[in-house]
Symmetry: C2
Subunit: 212 residues, 2 copies
């Protein structure tokens, strides 16, 4: 049986920290491209994607569950009804590969986790969804480790930069332009984003739009 | 036979981007603590550390090679005399673990590489040192991939956030305080550094020094 991969997603006005370089319509597009990359990695690892959306939303033929509650409430509602294994993957991990996701879901521990940069949590695998409750925001990685400990769950920290790299800010686009292999990288390049190397530091720049 | 792990090191006035929170003597201390953590990870993975220093330097009983040339010149000099396998590890990877280093040195490809954040290169494993030449600075990861390609070397990108996370700036200390397991984390905590969680963002703060 395929393991469900729950992917929380916010279709409207996402990724506001990218507002300095992408307008709202572009950010909504970009978020969808990243979602497509995450879905592709999950499917390649033998998971069945389930999009958990903050509002009514359609994405191809994928199953979408709508829940306007906060991220924690929505996920914990869902987990409480999942006795079997489940993967929770953030939607802003465009470097995700099937191999990296496979390393998550093939663990024999009760739980596997990948931290995000800055103390967050990017991915959680649970051998039984209802054995756990999530607590995102702030230093959620430390909170999630503590919850595993309180519940007596064995937990492995999976050492992957591909799942560790979430895209929130302009500098994160450097990682995507260097290591991305999917749709979101191609989309960025189509929009004119390029690596910019100045004084030994690597950044990104957006080439001027050519007027027709 | 143990695989040599070459660790370039700058003993004097290192890590200047941390000047905002650490004075020069502290930065020199901190760089040594990180070096100790990297050495410990390399030894645990069955490597023999070889410190490549920009000036005369002693560190316990470890072998130190002094070479005041630039990083590329010093490393390429060394590589040209190494027909066998060799690992090059940066000294500012305090999250390195033996398991992560082992994933580098057990590859059957001609080369394995771990990118640093922002386009750099944090670790390179070569099955034959003299088959390669390094080219650090700027987007060195892309340069290193290109050199592998030009020389017809098979190359694997090792997916590790522990080796991907180099410590250059204040924000990087967050990663160390969350994921560090060695001497440099303990040293930072002794100095009064703590995680600081404000408005959902995680940072670091240094507690006031207590006057005696």
């Amino acid at each position: 049986m395929l393991i469900p991969a729950v992917i929380p997603f916010k279709p409207r006005n996402p990724k506001t920290r990218l507002s300095c370089i992408l307008d709202q319509a572009e950010r909504e597009n970009f978020a969808e491209m990243m979602l497509a990359d995450v879905i592709s990695a999950a499917e390649g690892a033998g998971c069945r994607p389930l999009i958990l959306s903050t509002e009514a939303y359609e994405f191809g033929d994928y199953r979408v569950l709508e829940n306007p509650s906060g991220l924690n409430e929505a996920l914990n509602d869902l987990l409480s009804n999942m006795p079997g294994p489940v993967l929770i993957l953030m939607a802003d991990l465009p470097l995700a590969t099937s191999q990296a996701v496979k390393r998550m879901v093939t663990h024999s521990t009760d739980m596997a986790i990948v931290p995000g940069r800055g103390g967050g949590t990017n991915a959680i695998f649970l051998s039984s969804g209802r054995s756990y409750r999530v607590d995102y925001y702030g230093a959620s990685f430390l909170k999630h480790m503590r919850i595993a400990d309180e519940r007596g769950l064995s937990c492995e920290v999976v050492d992957s930069f591909r799942l560790h790299t979430d895209v929130d800010e302009k500098e994160d686009l450097v990682e995507l332009l260097i290591h991305g292999q999917g749709k979101s990288r191609a989309w960025l390049e189509d929009l004119g984003f390029r690596l910019l190397i100045e004084k030994g530091r690597v950044g990104v720049a957006r080439e001027k739009k050519h007027e027709p």
